[in-house]
């Protein structure tokens, strides 16, 4: 049951055979990340492959305490490109979001997901960064100008608009 040291032998037997184009290393990496994430159980963040597809994950972030996002839950989708981890995954909020650095369709402006990406980041660190981004938005280069404006000026209005927009996806 332990992470098998014999990757080639173990993978083909699962129904989720990796796509042929994916390199062996990438599969290994994503599997290891999943295992790490499952075993570390950092509170407030979680992710799991969608439909058993290792290239597409769904993430869940709980809003950090002391922020307007407290006690809210947000879902994200993570798409891993074929050259991951050389290139960052594409991360989107699937839950409607009101945040200075997130646009109306869920796109995120975060440096480590763009030019500051490095192969040492992983799903866990991405999710943690996003969680902290909720509490500390970068208001200097907003995607959502209204939110950036309200963040400092009118927290109440901010919260109202946020709650208006936030509609937790029902299962």
């Amino acid at each position: 049951m332990a992470a098998s040291p014999y990757p080639r032998g173990s993978v083909p037997s699962s129904p989720f055979s990796p796509l042929r184009s994916r390199t062996h290393n990438q599969i290994c990496r994503l599997q290891t990340e999943l295992m790490q994430l499952m075993m570390s159980t950092t509170p407030g963040i979680s992710a799991f492959p969608t439909d058993g597809n290792l290239q597409h994950w769904t993430g869940t972030i709980n809003g950090p305490e002391g922020t307007p996002y407290e006690s809210l839950t947000f879902k994200l989708s993570l798409e891993f490109p074929s050259n991951y981890p050389m290139a960052p995954p594409t991360v989107l909020f699937t839950t409607p979001m009101f945040h200075p650095n997130v646009d109306m369709s869920g796109r995120i402006c975060l440096d480590i997901l763009k030019d500051k990406w490095s192969a040492v980041y992983n799903v866990q660190s991405i999710l943690l960064s996003l969680q902290s981004l909720l509490g500390e938005p970068n208001n200097k280069s907003p995607l959502n100008g209204q939110a950036a404006e309200l963040w400092d000026k009118d927290p109440k209005e901010y919260k109202r608009l946020l709650m208006l927009r936030h509609k937790e996806a029902e299962d």
């Binding site: 049951m1 992470a3 098998s4 040291p5 173990s10 599997q31 499952m38 492959p49 058993g52």
Partner: protein
């Protein structure tokens, strides 16, 4: 049909009739001689008459028998319009003619009953012709000698009569039943009958019909008729032989001859089986005593030939004895006909060969007999025209030789793999001296080779290809003008050359067959390696063409996949086979192309096996494994292989291609695959390591073995391990093996710090046990089980001291005790004995310590112990069982254990002996299971958190992502989820499982 013909005697041209006859064999009725209408007596007077005067006149005049009785035989004879004047009147001539014809044909026609068993019997029983008849025949033959027509007609009639008789009476006797028991006897019978019939036919032909005209030329033996320059005899024999040949049922006859020859030749060339009493054939002649043996052997050969010659000669002697000759016209001369001169030639030749044959292997009796028999049968077949010269017999014989070659090779060399291989030489010798000799003897036995006539005759016997070659050779010789002088010598030389050529090709074929055999055996050869080196040496001479190499690889690959690469084979067996394969193929093909091709399948398969790495690493590090562990001896050779280091030639990497000074450079072999990796040396370990590209796979396993070795003993010096790790560094590189380096260093450091701390903290306290520690750098060691428990108080105190000492030695670092690792030397004192256990585990020691403790209580139940020690119950159970097996503890009912102070107590109530192993297995299962459950739980939570509610089936499928696969059934999973539900981790709603809302 005859009636029809007789009505239109003239209108049928001869050509058409012949065609007609060839389709419809003349029936008995049509060839009946003239009815006895003409009074025979009237013929008595005239016979003397035609002998002298009418000689010149008669030839031009052919009697024109217009009657039905002989129409068939004189259809071409047109009435001659010009009777000769001084001859008797045409009517008289005609009457005489017809009377003579009638007498002759009556006498010459064969009775309807079958022939007797042999010519001898026939000759004895058959009536000599009366004077009338003799005269009549003479009249019809000699009398008309100048004019071929009547004679031809009588000969033709005789030919037809023979054909009719043969078809009607002989043919039924030579039919081959579909099932027979004794093929040899059957064949002999058939040949006997045919020979008898043929000799009887010939006997009559020669005695009566064909007169011997040129007496100057010595007549040969009857069996040399095809050399006879008498074209008529030849024509007759040809016609007879063709009838014989066609009346032999085709597949059945060939099969019969084939089977018989196969057996006989098999015995003759020394195949076991058949007669089964000949295994000693590999004994070679050596020296004097054996010399006489071989001489007598030669005599035997020679005798055999003589017998075969005589079998006919004796009969022809009869032929000679009863020549009808009243006026000096000898039809046959017994002296001439017994074939003595030819026989002498043969004898001469045989003596010439004696020298060569002396070197031949010893022939044993049954072989000799079989050989004789073959020659006999062959001679008979030759005579009957079904022998050699491109005819059926030769083809069958070729098949026999073909089969023999294969059978011989299979029988003698299968499984014989000694080295250095003598098989090739043995085979060559056998082909040259035994098989080749037999073939030569059979194919050329009946002909004298050295006489020019014999040469010509042999040319006739050769197959078209051979005769072409032979004639070309003689043409060449003539061009050179050398051989003209002595044709005989030229022939002899050619003969030798030809023989050599044939021998070479036979040898080539034999080597090919041997190669095929070896290819078939290759799997066993590989498995038996290195005892089977000889087999590989044999193969080397076979794999010289791309076809044979391809044959080898495909055959071997399929053998591999059917015999080895299946789940029933143990991984260590497969690996051992692979190692042997590498070694064998390196010898077979040093360039490595074949190895590259055949090993792909096995490598692919090995990669799929889960325990390949473990087995290989354990083999490589077998020196570090405790003795007696099951893997230790399995592949310990790998450790030696590793010790050899990397073959120097491989270290150059790709640079060797650029080495312009390498004079032995050669391009890659043509049949090398596109991914062919050039490997010059034998590197077993390298091949195994390259199974996986990732090195981590190996280092992990190496670290595991190393850690168990380092921790499992109380030594401090691990030279072997250091050496192994250093060798592995050569393969994997410094950085990859860093972890192992650290492990080794930890142990070395521990030794120093242990001594230091013990000195500093004064740990040598009388009455307390000594304590030594190994301090591990957690990050670099494989994960350890951390099943902690309460160690006895004294030990705890010692540990605390030790900790203090360590913390002063290494600032800011803390010790975490792995209580369950390590060994304890236990000494237990009982009333009647002392039990010493030098290498008990810590938990075993802790458990037994409980029974001693302050004499407070010496009866414990497992749960109590577990509580007291804060140890897992399963571990306690294992410990108790261990002490039970040492006769230290016993169960006194209700799961309560106590100490056995006196062994006599044990005798009293023998405790139930539960085996330790089962408990251990259980333990392992639960351990593993626990871990598995935890992983599954995390996965389920992660999945449901992110994916939302899911039904059971979907969860089950998604759990396939768990590394290492997910093998639970749905029931097991449902149960598991229910338990999670009880713990409040999930909830079940609307057929789906989900995470409860906070």
């Amino acid at each position: 049909m005859a009636a029809f013909l007789s009505q239109h005697p003239i209108s049928y041209p001869q050509g058409r009739k012949r065609i007609f006859e060839s389709v419809f064999p003349p029936s008995a009725s049509s060839t009946l001689p003239t009815p006895l209408a003409t009074p025979t007596s009237s013929f008595v007077a005239p016979p003397s008459q035609p002998s002298q005067p009418s000689q010149p006149s008669q030839p031009s005049q052919t009697p024109t028998p217009s009657h039905g009785y002989n129409t068939r035989h004189h259809p071409n004879v047109t009435p001659s319009p010009a009777p000769i004047s001084f001859a008797p009147s045409p009517a008289a001539i005609f009457a005489r003619e017809s009377r003579a014809w009638h007498l002759a044909t009556t006498y010459l026609s064969f009775p309807a009953d079958p022939f007797p068993g042999s010519l001898r019997v026939y000759v004895q029983t058959h009536q000599d012709p009366t004077r009338d008849v003799a005269e009549a025949i003479r009249y019809l033959t000699i009398h008309h000698a100048e004019n071929p027509t009547p004679e031809t007609s009588l000969l033709e009639w005789y030919t037809c009569e023979v054909r009719r008789h043969f078809l009607a009476h002989v043919r039924p006797e030579i039919s081959i039943p579909t099932e027979y028991n004794d093929g040899a006897r059957l064949l002999e019978e058939i040949l006997g009958r045919l020979t008898t019939a043929q000799s009887i036919y010939l006997f009559r032909l020669r005695t009566y019909i064909i007169p011997e005209k040129k007496k100057g030329r010595a007549r040969r033996n009857l069996d040399s008729w095809d050399e006879s320059d008498d074209s008529k005899v030849q024509a007759f024999v040809r016609s007879l032989n063709s009838i014989i040949s066609y009346s032999l049922p085709d597949p059945a006859w060939n099969k019969l001859v084939y089977e018989d020859f196969l057996e006989l030749c098999g015995t003759a060339v020394g195949l076991p089986g058949g007669d089964g009493d000949d295994d000693d054939d590999t004994v070679l002649d050596d020296g004097g005593e054996a010399g006489s043996d071989s001489m007598s052997g030669n005599e035997d050969v020679y005798q055999g030939v003589r017998l075969s010659q005589q079998s006919f000669a004796t009969e022809t002697d009869f032929d000679g004895d009863i020549v009808v000759d009243d006026d000096g016209v000898a039809i046959g001369n017994p002296r001439d006909m017994d074939g003595i001169d030819e026989f002498d030639v043969y004898r001469q030749r045989a003596e010439e060969k004696a020298e060569e044959k002396r070197k031949k292997r010893k022939e044993e009796k049954p072989r000799e007999k079989a050989r004789k028999k073959v020659l006999e049968i062959w001679a008979a077949m030759e005579k009957l025209g079904v022998g050699g010269g491109g005819r059926r017999g030769e083809r069958v014989f070729a098949e026999v030789i073909n089969t023999l070659l294969t059978t011989y090779i299979n029988a003698h060399f299968a499984g014989v793999w000694e080295t250095p291989s003598k098989v090739g030489n043995d085979l060559d010798r056998w082909v040259e001296h035994v098989l080749g000799q037999l073939v030569l003897d059979v194919l050329f036995s009946s002909k004298s080779v050295n006489s020019p006539e014999g040469w010509a005759a042999r040319l006739k016997k050769l197959s078209p290809r051979e005769s072409f070659r032979a004639s070309r050779q003689s043409l060449d010789n003539r061009k050179k003008g050398v051989m003209e002088v002595d044709a005989g010598a030229g022939v002899g030389e050619d003969d030798i050359k030809r023989r050599k050529e044939d021998l070479e090709s036979w040898k080539r074929i034999a080597v090919g067959r041997l190669g095929r055999l070896r290819v078939g055996e290759l799997f066993d050869i590989v498995v038996e390696w290195p005892e089977s080196l000889g087999g590989v040496e044999d193969l080397k001479s076979y794999i010289i063409s791309p076809q044979t190499r391809l044959h080898l690889t495909t055959t071997f690959t399929s053998a591999l996949s059917t015999r080895l690469l299946h789940p029933a084979a143990a991984t260590s067996d497969i690996l051992r086979a692979y190692i042997s394969l590498i070694r064998a193929f390196t010898v077979l093909d040093p360039r490595g192309v074949l190895l590259d091709r055949v090993s792909r399948g096995i490598r692919r398969y090995l990669r799929e096996r889960d325990d390949t790495v473990r087995v290989i690493v354990r083999g490589i590090m077998s020196e570090s494994l405790p003795d007696g562990s099951e893997d230790a001896e399995d592949l310990s050779e790998l450790a030696q292989e590793l010790g050899k280091g990397i073959p120097a030639t491989q270290q150059g990497g790709g640079l060797e291609e650029l080495d312009y000074d390498d004079l032995s450079w050669a391009p890659d072999p043509v049949d090398a695959g596109p991914e062919f990796r050039r490997s010059k040396g034998l590197d077993v370990v390298g091949s195994l390591i390259s199974l996986w590209e990732s090195k981590e796979v190996w280092t992990k396993e190496v670290a595991a073995v190393l850690s168990s070795r380092l921790l499992g003993s109380d030594e401090w010096l691990f030279e072997k391990e250091i050496r192994t790790i250093e060798l592995l560094k050569l393969r994997f590189g410094e950085t990859t093996m860093q972890g192992c380096d650290v492990m080794l260093k930890d142990i070395a450091d521990s030794k120093r710090s242990d001594a230091h701390i013990r000195a500093e903290e004064n740990l040598k306290i009388a009455g307390l046990p000594e304590i030594h520690t190994k301090i591990l750098s957690r990050l670099f060691w494989p994960t350890m089980k951390e099943d902690g428990f309460q160690v006895p108080l004294e030990i705890r105190k010692l540990q605390e001291c030790y900790e203090r000492g360590f913390e002063t030695l290494k600032k800011k670092r803390k010790l975490t005790w792995l209580q369950n690792m390590g060994t304890v030397e236990v000494e237990l004192e009982f009333e009647d004995r002392v039990v010493q256990v030098p290498d008990a585990t810590t938990w075993q020691a802790a458990v037994i310590h409980q029974f001693d403790e302050a004499e407070r209580c010496d009866k414990w139940a497992v749960p109590q112990l577990a509580d007291n020690l804060e140890m897992e119950e399963s571990l306690v159970k294992k410990a108790v069982q261990f002490w039970q097996s040492r006769d230290v503890l016993k169960e006194i009912g209700n799961g309560i254990y106590t100490v056995i102070e006196n062994l006599e107590e044990l005798e009293a109530n023998s405790p139930p002996q539960t085996s330790v192993t089962t408990a251990e297995e259980e333990e392992e299962v639960t351990d593993e299971k626990k871990r598995e459950r935890m992983v599954v739980e995390q996965f389920v939570v992660g999945m449901l958190t992110n994916g939302g509610a899911m039904p059971l089936e979907r969860i089950s499928i998604m759990l396939g992502l768990v590394p290492g696969g997910f093998s639970w059934g749905q029931e097991e999973l449902r149960e598991f989820l229910s338990r999670m539900k009880l713990e409040g981790k999930v909830e079940y709603k609307g057929g789906s499982w989900r995470i409860p809302k906070a």
